[in-house]
Symmetry: C2
Subunit: 480 residues, 2 copies
């Protein structure tokens, strides 16, 4: 399917000029001596901890990154292609709270395990990412180890490493090496993501830079994501915010290329507005949709894969009409804009503070729907079904037509949670709304879950590594 | 904004060839001797009540219709332009039932009046149309008179006449004449719509043809709408259904042009799928979105204004997540496809059986949102807000920046029902979901309603006409 591209070439050139100027005149702060050293060696102007970039430098660095690449999963059928016409999807990442039905509480490891299992059960999702929610009952310093082990054990998919801190990143890289046969194997083709958030505006902090440097050095996929709420971390103008986003994400990509030319990178975007009355973030509105359409055009102009900022974003506190339309607006904008990597695509609620089990499966229906909607349909003579019209003629119906009978099972997309019940049937079944039906759905999925095979020797090595490293940071845990 | 146009020129040519073949070889049935006579006089082949069209005939007739035209409202600020880049919106049309909160019951005249008042209060809506719901407590034979009088009294906007039966259509035309200064005035510029549904497949029944002939003769706007549920009234293939839709709507437009060359016409579309397990209609899915994108391309190729099949369609029984995303998918497809006339854009629930007060105002928020989303944004140097970046620098925030302070009131779209409240505030306010907040919203709107001015002499003439005509059909009513 074609992309929706509302920006003219002139508008894109304006953003590009603005980004060059911002990178050069205002510059970007890097809180890490090695990052500053790399930029200095590359001939850029470093004033204190701020780098001022020569015109054209960021784009020439970005040109070293592949426009498309493959990521290897334990199950080869789950390998990913990042870039081009390909799209991959991950559920919500990072919420500290969980909502199950009417209960909202701290997220736990048991919740995370169930959500990772649901991801494994869902064809429309490609990766559990890193933390579908925060398991608050697991010690902080060893949390990344347990999360990585959970992703490995409960799915056979690509997963995502800890982005911040040198030690955590190296732990995740080491676990990827154990799983995939050593450093050389994972350097040949990346197997994990590292998503690096920018401390917008125009600043990379030391922990995120430690992660970026480590993942780039190991040849793993580096996503550089400015998180921009207009009015807070960016100006209250979509064009200005796109300029900032481009500058920030290119600066991160440029650094990754200095560490290791050819590092697989993804331009990140996460652009939304602020409710200026309250200062609260707002999601699913017109500004973020335009931002997504434009982000796709900018990334394609740079010939880089890109990550859309959502996903099924919503500010809603519950799985209601608002949650449905805000999620759909964000996710359909990602499809229309041709996003390659869609994080936050299932379960996100309450502006990202909550992962909802009900919304998780409701959102998966949207993914499924839009994947069908953006699959091209063949328009040829056969598709015109002329014989069906000859058979039915005027004023009849097509229920019994041969053309229908041959195709009725597969001819239309079928929802998993949505209902077409008439009012009598719906009333008899207890007047369940979408959220209530979703509550049944995720429990059914979990019951059907089967753990994917994992070589026991590899699992043993991973378990030993996790327990040893946890002990080294002072946490006594058992993951057997 | 540009349109989203997924069909190639070859695909469009395939649909066009298919439509020519269907029109010629299978033909269209017209249950009205005058319609058959007009086609016979125009040289077409009439076999019984089926007309077989010469290749090119339908398109040459369609070329007589204007590609854009104006409709006059009582309040000149509410005049409409139909065609080109213009879009107009009407609420749900036709549901027999109403939902108010948790109560679902037969629609009444009091409900209809309130919904017409809500339409008048809503800038995003352009016309009340004909029957936002069916007022089941009004006698059937005089219902059209009362509905027209209600639209005239409670709004200052273009409204829609009764489509079926000669007498009802003539009554509505006469009321338009009284309101707008006589036959000549309304023939100069149309003032009402007549929406003619096709008895798909490929048949126009006598009552709808009576309406079509009457509105065309009076120079009023004729919308020709095939109502196509794939699997029931059309084959289970989007391309085949588009061929049928094109043939049917063009056949109606061609007839209107034979009655009166230059009759303002709108190509209708209403294309969705059927749940093949139950036979129930399904709305808001991928097939209907593709159908909308394609319908826009087909209409532009024919250089005719077009009506999209929705709107904020949904199969959901209640104002929930499903209702939100299905409505959004249909309505955003209409925007992406550049629909000129969007019927069914507020309140539609339960597959069109119910008009919901809560969904009415919830849907108006979507209209408002999408109107903002599809308004082009200027990308120029000023929009880049370079000075704001100089002011804020690295790692700061934009809440207090001069650029923000100058713009914070108007910089972002603001919802009317959606909430960005944090969890504490939302809980304190009673944990209201979107539907519950919408319930407050429509009541507030109604309280602020003011009846638009209407010349007392004209109102008196309308009242006399309505009471006289009602008495002639045997209904004793008082509308004073």
């Amino acid at each position: 399917m074609p992309r929706f591209e509302p920006l003219s070439q002139e508008a894109l050139a304006t953003v590009e000029r603005g980004s060059e100027r911002l990178a050069s005149e205002v510059g970007v702060q890097f809180d890490h001596p090695h990052a500053l050293e790399l930029f200095r060696e590359a001939g850029q102007t470093v004033a204190g901890d701020v780098v001022h970039f020569d015109p054209g430098f960021l784009r020439s660095q970005a040109a070293l990154a592949p426009s498309q690449f493959r990521m290897r999963a334990r199950n080869a059928a789950r390998d990913l292609v990042i870039g081009g016409d390909h799209m991959i999807f991950a559920p919500a990442q990072g919420p500290p709270f969980v909502r199950v039905g009417d209960t909202r509480r701290d997220g736990t490891m048991a919740d995370l395990e169930q959500l990772v299992m649901l991801t494994q059960m869902t064809d429309a999702l490609d990766t559990p990412g890193r933390n579908i929610l925060e398991p608050n009952d697991v010690p902080l310093d060893s949390r990344h180890l347990i999360r990585a082990l959970t992703a490995i054990r409960l799915t056979d998919r690509v997963w995502s490493g800890e982005p911040s801190s040198e030690a955590a990143a190296q732990d995740c890289i080491r676990m990827a090496e154990i799983l995939h046969g050593g450093r050389e194997a994972i350097e040949r083709e990346p197997v994990i993501f590292g998503n690096i958030n920018v401390n917008s505006p125009l600043r990379f902090d030391v922990r995120m830079l430690e992660g970026l440097l480590a993942y780039a050095d190991a040849g793993q996929t580096v996503i550089v994501t400015p998180f921009l709420l207009m009015g807070a971390m960016a100006p209250v103008s979509v064009p200005a915010t796109l300029v900032q986003q481009t500058t920030e994400s290119l600066a991160g990509v440029a650094l990754a290329q200095l560490v290791r030319p050819g590092t697989p990178c993804v331009l990140g975007s996460f652009l939304s507005s602020t409710d200026m009355k309250t200062g609260s973030p707002a999601f699913g509105g017109p500004e973020s949709a335009l931002g997504l359409y434009a982000s796709g055009q900018i990334a394609r102009r740079l010939d880089l894969p890109w990550r859309s900022g959502g996903g099924t974003l919503t500010t809603s506190q519950t799985v209601d009409y608002q949650a449905g339309y805000e999620a759909f607006n964000t996710l359909s904008a990602a499809f229309l804009a041709g996003a390659n990597v869609c994080w936050q695509s299932a379960g996100w609620l309450e502006g990202g503070l909550v992962t909802s089990f009900e919304k998780f499966v409701a959102d998966c229906e949207l993914l499924d729907l839009l994947q069908a909607q953006f699959t091209p349909v063949e328009f040829d003579e056969a598709s015109l079904a002329f014989d069906a019209h000859v058979e039915v003629g005027q004023g009849g119906h097509f229920f019994g037509a041969a053309h229908t009978l041959e195709r009725f099972r597969e001819c239309f997309w079928r929802p998993t949670v949505a209902s077409t019940d008439n009012i009598d049937r719906w009333t008899r079944r207890g007047e369940l709304d979408h959220a209530a039906r979703a509550s049944t759905r995720w429990k059914e999925l979990l019951e059907a879950y089967e753990r994917p095979p994992l070589d026991p020797a590899i699992e043993e090595e991973l378990v030993e590594f996790v327990e040893t490293r946890a002990a080294e940071v002072g946490d006594v845990i058992s993951v057997r």
